[in-house]
Symmetry: C2
Subunit: 344 residues, 2 copies
């Protein structure tokens, strides 16, 4: 078999503010690959990429390597990478067979050889779901919501939860977990469509934070026992101010601040003392060992049966990956953003 083109989305330079497709990232078709003869080390697998997840945290990886953060930086002239689903083409690892579908970290490339194949999870027997769901509601965003809620919410029936970016892939599961636990749920989102979606999946109160004052809603509908923070900045400030006694805040993202050079100063920290709040920063990987089995037992089945709802916003073609990233950073995606690289 002759070598074929291996299209890749490369990281080219560190952006200031929003990334610029074609400048920050470029789609590169200069590499070729022979699927039959490409060398495979013992324990490695060659994967064809089907679906890639696109998440706001990727912006945090587009930074100078010397800046510390919770996630390693991308390297210039190398492909981006993120969670995705692929199909095994060839395998020199006993746990994987050609034709199997796997979930794990994959390059933004049509074909790749993951660095650590032991971290791939075979999907074919989990639940009857489209593979794309495994990068969304059944993937990292879903796991983030589930792990964080289980670990930090200490939810009690009748309490009030507030979820920012309620229509996003993390927030939408948090809303549904909070409803399952019997809480009143307030959700915020950045468009009227998203607000409607929050209501569809069970939020008791949902509002467009661009046209409605967050503090006023929380004052009227709160105080807030559990705040799921995906955005930081003024929303976090308002949630602290309108917290209930012994409230819990789960800090999971700071979408409002990803592209800000000068961070916003939170002026309501006194309330952390007066209401004896518990604020916990969370990263899904820290909690994986504790909750992953429980998650795969419970959530994919509920997604397949429709008991838990999800949505997707699909970009077709890896060459449009750069635009897909800008979409999630600007919040113009309508749901969990995925890039479909190939159909099978």
């Amino acid at each position: 078999m002759a070598p074929i083109t291996n299209g890749r989305l490369l990281f080219k330079e560190i952006p200031v503010g929003y990334p610029i497709p074609g400048k920050t990232t470029t789609y590169d078709t200069s590499q070729t690959i022979d699927l039959e003869t490409e060398p495979l080390n013992e324990g490695s697998v060659l994967v064809k990429t089907l679906v890639l997840s696109v998440d706001p945290y990727l912006r945090g990886k587009m930074r100078a390597p010397e800046k510390e953060s919770y996630t390693p930086p991308f390297f210039v002239d190398e492909p981006l990478y993120n969670f995705g689903v692929g199909k095994i083409i060839r395998s020199s690892h006993p746990s994987f067979k050609p034709g199997q579908h796997v979930y794990g970290v994959l390059d933004f490339a049509e074909y790749s050889i993951p660095k650590d194949s032991t971290k791939l999870k075979v999907l074919d027997e989990v639940a009857n779901l489209p593979y794309s769901v495994y990068v969304g509601a059944a993937g990292m965003p879903g796991q983030t919501a589930y792990y964080g809620w289980k670990e930090f919410a200490r939810a009690k029936k009748g309490e009030v939860a507030f979820v920012s970016t309620g229509a996003g892939p993390v927030g939408s599961l948090v809303i549904q977990l909070a409803k399952q636990d019997g809480l009143k749920v307030i959700a915020s989102a950045g468009s009227d469509d998203k607000v409607e979606f929050c209501k569809d999946i069970g939020a008791d109160v949902a509002f467009n934070y661009k046209t409605t004052d967050t503090g006023e809603v929380l004052k009227r509908e709160g105080p807030v026992d559990v705040y799921w923070d995906n955005v930081g900045g003024p929303t976090l400030e308002a949630a602290i101010e309108n917290s209930a006694l012994h409230g819990r805040i789960i800090v999971c993202g700071y979408a409002s601040q990803y592209n800000n050079e000068e961070p916003y100063g939170i002026k309501t920290m006194r309330t952390v003392l007066s209401n004896r709040l518990s604020i916990n920063g969370m990263l899904v990987f820290d909690l994986q060992d504790k909750y992953q089995d429980e998650f795969f037992k419970e959530i994919p089945g509920k997604l397949a049966s429709g008991e838990i709802k999800y949505t997707e916003d699909v970009t077709r073609g890896l060459e449009k990956g750069g635009e897909a990233i800008v979409d999630v950073l600007k919040g113009v995606n309508r749901a969990k953003k995925i890039v479909v690289v190939a159909d099978e």
Copy 2:
């Protein structure tokens, strides 16, 4: 026995910024009391005040009643109140006998009848300590340090602790508890004398935050696994910035902000996510049931034996109570501030 004067320190008006003795508070000698005939309801006791605690949080009680806070406001024309030690003069409660010494909330008055005598603790059999210590290292400040450390520090040998207001009655016990647990301790204080005291009680690194940059010290000596926050503001901001992965922050006071009208904005909240911090506001009363017995079993004995050190800064005479409060708010006291009202 003829009626005698019952001197009282009254709250007169809500201050802007620092309270002003003679204006915010006045010493009043217009009330008289007949110790033998003053009526006592069933279950009440008449107490002679010996020692009163003076703490920064009293400023928070000098506010408009409609403003919410973690502690109820003082009422205008009524005496201030705080933890103190007194002697039972007369009792109509079976648990208390004349001559016994009790610890609890007492009015800033020479004599008073506490609203709820069941909350008083008889001291005569606890440990051989001067009664004044029961409002400091063996009282609310000591309990605050002990309860908060036990509940939230999750301290591990070899970790780094940072304690602000390290020479204060809370901070100085936190330093010693952290050393007992095998941590490296960094302490900050507001004068060179206080810095020396921090070192005397075991701090590995101590600095005057007025002349040394907190962030630089923490950068050099950290990162900080456990930060005990008594001050809020820029110190909290620097501690968050210089936190270790999975660091814990115990928010116990905001001394830098008590007299500020415009609160300081904390710009480092991103690090709560990147380092997955746990920030917990604490109030001693929340944890009293859980830790009080353990505290009284362990700490007064160690204070009596000298294994744990403490200091006091004594104001003699209730009429100087207003000045004592300003001292602790400005941080010019040299140690735990107490007012000795009477000797026995």
